[in-house]
């Protein structure tokens, strides 16, 4: 049994690394704007198609495209919040939720028009390379994605903790009125934080592409996973998002191992429901 269990655990941790990157953006947006960004999965899909286009049209390796896609997704996220989600949602919980749903519907179907419903993947020279670690064979692409995700998570943490902009974002998250009194403009910070959250997706999309496929429906697959990670770790908590992501990655792999490929996917929605019903504050119980 160990022969099957260990690879499933390691695989779960590796997948969880990329989930962490997806979830960090989501938890940042929740922590600062106090909104549930239902468009998160669809924006990840946009980032994956972006990386796919760069790889197939310009021959740019997805790993080299990380800074470019992070920047592009930052601009898309900033603009989306500034011109669509902010004005449409008007700060009302239901309005914002439905605005992000509307954005998700538009993006998913725009991708369907542009790329058809087919699944696409890319071929990289390292796609089939394996790394030997004791008794384990680990796909190189997943290992690189994990390392990249952890590195970006660290950079994000450093940015939030050490720079003035990071401090301003945290100030607005805690106390928007107080922040406004000391000269920070919350409206600007909101768009900025949303942009940074979406920039994480730009990086995540590039890191996922070599070991995953992309289709217009892929966002719908990731959206509940990302929310499960975030509620498990505690909405708004950075360390929570990383730990939650690893746990969700492991749960998913163990579910597929013990329940089979067709029943296994039930683990993520069940975990999500269980966390919300039993411990809605999550593991790192910040106030909801």
């Amino acid at each position: 049994m160990m022969a099957l269990l260990l690879p499933a655990l390691v695989g779960g941790v590796l997948t969880g690394g990329v989930y962490a990157l997806v979830a960090l953006g989501l938890t940042l947006i929740y922590g600062v704007l106090h909104i549930v960004n239902f468009a998160h999965g669809s924006l990840l899909m946009v980032a994956m198609f972006g990386a796919w286009l760069l790889a197939t049209r310009l021959g740019l390796d997805p790993l080299a495209a990380v800074p470019l896609m992070a920047g592009a997704m930052f601009a898309i996220g900033w603009g989306l919040y500034r011109f669509v989600i902010g004005p449409v949602g008007r700060g009302d919980d239901r309005g914002v939720l439905l605005a992000t749903l509307g954005v998700a519907v538009v993006l998913d179907n725009a991708a369907l028009i542009a790329f058809t419903g087919d699944s696409r993947s890319i071929e990289t020279p390292y796609a089939l390379q394996m790394v030997q670690a004791g008794p384990l064979l680990i796909p190189l692409a997943k290992l690189v994605a994990f390392a990249g995700a952890m590195l970006i998570a660290l950079l994000l943490w450093a940015f939030m903790a050490l720079t003035d902009t990071g401090r301003a974002i945290r100030a607005v998250a805690r106390e928007p009125e107080g922040a406004a009194l000391v000269g920070i403009r919350p409206a600007r910070i909101f768009a900025l934080a949303y942009g940074i959250g979406i920039a994480c997706l730009g990086a995540a999309g590039c890191l996922l592409l070599p070991s995953f496929y992309v289709s217009p429906q892929v966002g719908g697959m990731f959206v509940l996973v990302a929310f499960t990670v975030v509620v498990l770790g505690g909405m708004g908590s950075f360390p929570g998002a990383v730990v939650g992501a690893l746990l969700v990655g492991i749960t998913e792999n163990l579910g597929n191992l013990y329940l089979g490929e067709s029943l296994g996917p039930i683990c993520v929605p069940l975990l999500f429901i269980a966390v919300l019903l039993v411990r809605p504050t999550g593991l790192f119980g910040a106030v909801r």
Partner: protein
């Protein structure tokens, strides 16, 4: 009578006349369109009972639709029950699921966006179950054998299917109208507007919200039965897809959530968009993308929905 009330009454009358129109038509194509629109309106109205009047924004109403559809399909194909019995069975399953999901989530204090996400998770979990269990036929779904005849709840004339869809729409609209005038509806609205204040006045908030979700779930499940009896087929994708949940929400939100006539107008708008685009452009995705755009425009510019246009003009 105020201008707005007169406008609403005229609108209701116009919609009633419009509903009767397809019965005079001999075009199966046109009647089929009318039937699909009526089913959309009925499902939107069912969503509206929880999502509009109760403010319970559900992203997973397909859970109830699929439950009803599978209850009907399984009872007749596996247990040989008369498909008409699928109606009460589906209502019981949909209503029971609504009650259970409501009680569990509202007791845990879930509101707003959290409730939306948890309903989505339930629909997804049901979809996985339908896809992997033997009794649901797994991914290949369930095919209902063709036995035309009123006794077997199968009709070759689409007008009969349309009549059933209109009957469900009428039932759902009657329920919505009762909410807008009755005591239970007043409790529900009080909880929607200010839950803490309603509790303080002695309204049992968890029970009221769960009952609204149960009623909404039961009506949605009946829509699932009509689907199975019209198309004689169901699979996990048709039953539990996120698109179906979103369409119910769209119909209610675009028309006007929390109003009696909103979902009827919403279904007309959504199907007008769908059928016009499909006749002009065949690329898949164009019509649903437009729904998304319309949803954003409505929430941003006309949060009360299309029905507000009639009411606002009436004030002047």
């Amino acid at each position: 009578m105020t201008g707005a009330a007169a406008r609403t009454r005229a609108l209701a009358l116009a919609l009633a006349v419009l509903t009767l129109l397809p019965f005079a038509s001999h075009s199966q194509f046109f009647v089929n369109l009318a039937m699909l629109t009526a089913i959309s309106a009925a499902l939107g109205q069912a969503w509206n009972i929880a999502g509009g009047f109760g403010g319970l924004t559900s992203f997973g109403h397909a859970a109830f639709f699929g439950l009803g559809a599978y209850a009907d399909a399984i009872l007749q194909t596996r247990y040989g029950l008369n498909p008409w019995l699928g109606l009460p069975a589906a209502a019981a399953f949909g209503g029971g699921a609504g009650w259970l999901i409501g009680t569990a989530t509202f007791r845990a204090g879930l509101r707003g966006s959290y409730f939306a996400l948890v309903t989505l998770a339930f629909a997804q979990a049901f979809g996985v179950l339908a896809n992997s269990l033997d009794i649901t036929g797994g991914g290949s779904g369930i095919l209902v054998a063709l036995h035309p005849g009123a006794g077997r709840f199968q009709f070759t004339d689409r007008r009969a299917g349309y009549a059933l869809a209109v009957a469900l729409l009428a039932l759902a609209t009657l329920a919505a109208w009762r909410l807008s005038v009755g005591r239970f509806g007043a409790h529900l609205l009080a909880v929607r507007e200010n839950e803490d204040a309603a509790r303080a006045l002695g309204v049992p908030a968890v029970r009221v919200k769960s009952a609204a979700l149960a009623l909404s779930g039961a009506l949605t499940a009946l829509g699932g039965v009509l689907y199975v009896q019209s198309y004689l087929y169901i699979d996990p994708g048709i039953a539990f897809s996120a698109e179906r949940s979103v369409e119910m929400l769209l119909v209610a939100m675009i028309g006007g959530a929390g109003t009696v006539l909103g979902p009827l107008l919403g279904a007309l708008v959504v199907h007008a968009i769908a059928d016009t685009t499909r006749s002009l452009i065949t690329t898949p995705g164009v019509a649903p993308m437009l729904y998304g755009v319309v949803l954003l425009l409505i929430i941003g510019l006309l949060p009360g929905g299309v029905v507000r246009i009639a009411a606002v003009r009436g004030d002047g």
